[in-house]
Symmetry: C2
Subunit: 452 residues, 2 copies
């Protein structure tokens, strides 16, 4: 060896433009940038983070959940102490150790009949999305349909799977079915293979929009007619209360068209990082012979995260068992908070900005999000200014459009705040809006001290 | 809508050959197939699973670890109860909440000086591998070097990242440096971009081989000269005892050539699913400007699993804190078990098969694995036969060669068994070997009732 290099410089191969393409995409930066602004202004009232209410979190609950799940292993599954310890501490089944509890809660809360074998427990819903997109991405011709605006996590998972996302128009009633068919046919005519459409029928992030029953049936019919899978994300459905709840796509699905993406982040706790996917579609051909899509997802998972932490699953399982496997039941108090907050934000907006020309917002019946439209530019510069000068945070909607649209909209998340903070935050937000309109008129203009 | 399809058949898009290519690869089936055979023969003595010893697992430890970590948050990080609860229950920093504890334990146990900012806590070492491979895969020209035989999880992660693996010869002393340089140059001459080589310097899975100090220095020099990153997997290094321990590549690395892949599965518990990566390489160019590779990995992680369960991290953090941040200290009893088991297996093989022509094995100084070479075919058919007729399980080595070699070798894992079971298992294994040699002679032959 004579060619020893003593240089202290970085390996030449690590220039930013020689890394995976996802790392250069604006969507991958969104979360970091938004978190940075939030971290710099910790005292600002935050309508930004789409996080669950944390007023009822209690560390003492964790050992109780573990105990409840261990009791279940002893009594319902007949395990001795060594088997209980092994179940929690060791590697476990790739699909998870709470698949039957998940299936039970889907039956109780959603009327979904899912065989435990069609469930894969994942590291949050985010991993579930990646597993499905990775499985469905056979080659460079593949593309995915998704509503625009859409959840940043879907965009990110698609980038990691090298899967282009084709945007579909969103209306007040959720994804636009005519535009969906139009986009699909145009993409297929252009040589693309499109096998799935991501959709959030209940209280979508970021739009807050929900689909009515007719729209759900229409979407299922389109999926069958066009040989399309629907990737249904239902992170918020249970949190609007039971009055007027509509069945999920999966509950209506009789033709195996729906892959159901589930999350326990909002209904149990984000800190367990447990979600799941229900994928009961049969795979044809291949060596497996009659395996389910869930089995294929499980194979991918085994090489991505091996299995979801059994201890984290035990916490979720314990919480489910403590509430008769009903998340609606487990979230009675939280649901009240979300409904109260949503009412307060909608009423507060009406009181403060009800008569301001060009300022409007939607009125979701539940979920975490309200979208406010204003007659001036909403970008990261405005957010930074709002945080610094007015002490209020929100999410500029362009982050959900891949920076291609949404520059007059902002997303307000209502989930984490107390009534006092909501009033304070709305006062600050109204002051910002009033100031912007007064200084620059209804046509908008550059942000003072802005940038971005 | 007139085109409604009432068929109950599977979506046409879900034929096995239209899924991601990884799902058709033999390596992705290995674990499933081996688990299936193991599940069918629960009473067999298993030298198959490379799992940690579970005799000391105790469910009551979990609340204690949580308590220790919460105390740390209160006293060392000055948090109040609401902040402690938020840290465990909510979403958290993408890089993790125990990066400084991980850094401290690396300093204590390995003499590695890692800044907490260069650490990303992952969902097991498996996610760490995928993050690195995904980041380094810029386009179709990319390839990765790895020893042959190699850990199935590496092969799987590379398949998911669409990254071809170029095999490098392994010798008794670990990866063959001359073959590495030869393969690298040939690949580059062929138009491939090769920026990394995966390597396990201590008690490799499956070979059990370890590199001596000179080989480690030589590998680091090659990495610098050839502008190569070394992806160092150190899942087993601490479990051989302190006598004769050699520094890891990362501890010797002065030129930022080593990305260190760490696991808490063997040293704490697999059930937490917590690992990490140390990636202190500077990224040049791009918008970030002077970010570390760890920051890029964190961006990918945010779209793959969001963050590693803070509760799972708290368990690991609590265990670290309970042992002065020394995993060597925390694993005193376990290390004794592994050393005792390894001695017993090596002595027991010598007693039973020491004089059998064509039968030999290596003698690792630590770790979980011994490789046995025999003069007859070792395939999944033989494994099934061994389980059924002799009640003993092992891992055919061809699984670590992508079914391209290794058909006369089997891997014995010594980690999980008690002394009684080891003796019983070795008796059964010796009976199988003797029977195979007697029935078919040293040249081997088809397995009775076999198939594979």
């Amino acid at each position: 060896m004579t060619e020893i290099l003593q240089s202290e410089t970085a390996p030449a191969g690590l220039s930013a433009d020689a890394l995976h393409a996802s790392l250069g995409d604006v969507s991958m930066e969104s979360m970091n940038l938004l978190n940075q602004i939030a971290d710099t202004h910790p005292r600002a009232v935050s309508f930004a983070a789409g996080r669950p209410y944390e007023g009822f979190y209690d560390v003492d609950r964790l050992p109780e959940y573990l105990r409840a799940f261990c009791d279940h292993l002893r009594t319902e599954r007949g395990m001795d102490e060594a088997e209980v310890a092994r179940t929690l501490f060791q590697y476990g089944a790739t699909k998870g150790i709470i698949t039957s509890l998940v299936a039970r809660s889907l039956a109780v809360d959603e009327g979904i009949e899912a065989g435990p074998g069609s469930v894969v427990v994942t590291v949050g819903c985010q991993e579930a999305m990646f597993l499905v997109l990775r499985a469905l991405r056979a080659d460079d011709r593949e593309a995915l349909l998704a509503p625009s605006p859409t959840y940043v996590g879907l965009t990110g998972a698609a980038l990691l799977a090298d899967l282009p996302v084709l945007p579909v128009r969103t209306r007040e009633n959720g994804i636009d079915p005519d535009d969906l068919v139009e986009r699909l046919r145009r993409a297929r005519a252009g040589g693309l293979r499109v096998r799935a459409c991501y959709v959030t029928p209940d209280f979508a992030n970021p739009s807050g929009a929900s689909m009515d029953l007719a729209a759900r049936h229409r979407l299922l019919d389109i999926a069958a007619a066009e040989d399309l899978l629907l990737l249904e994300d239902n992170a918020y459905g249970l949190l609007g209360g039971t009055a007027g709840r509509l069945p999920t796509l999966k509950a209506l699905d009789r033709r195996q068209r729906v892959v159901y993406l589930g999350s326990f982040a909002k209904t149990c706790m984000p800190g367990a990082r447990v979600g799941y996917v229900v994928a009961d579609q049969r795979i044809t051909g291949g060596s497996g012979g009659g395996t389910l899509l869930a089995d294929e997802l499980s194979k991918i998972k085994s090489m991505l995260t091996v299995n979801t932490s059994p201890i984290a699953q035990a916490l979720i399982g314990g919480k489910l068992l403590s509430h008769g496997c009903s998340l609606a039941e487990a979230n009675r108090r939280e649901t009240e908070v979300y409904r109260r907050n949503l009412r307060q934000v909608l009423d507060g907006l009406a009181r403060r900005l009800g008569n301001v020309p060009g300022v409007e917002w939607n009125a979701p019946a539940g979920g975490f999000f309200v979208v406010l439209t204003v007659p001036f530019t909403v970008d990261d510069g405005l957010l930074e200014y709002a945080a610094r000068r007015h002490g209020v945070l929100f999410t500029p909607m362009h982050h959900f459009y891949g920076a291609s649209a949404g520059f007059r909209q902002l997303r307000l998340s209502v989930s984490m705040l107390t009534p006092d903070r909501i009033d304070e935050g709305l006062d600050r937000l109204a002051a910002l809006v009033t100031e912007r309109l007064a200084e620059h008129g209804a046509a908008g203009g550059p942000v003072p001290g802005g940038g971005s």
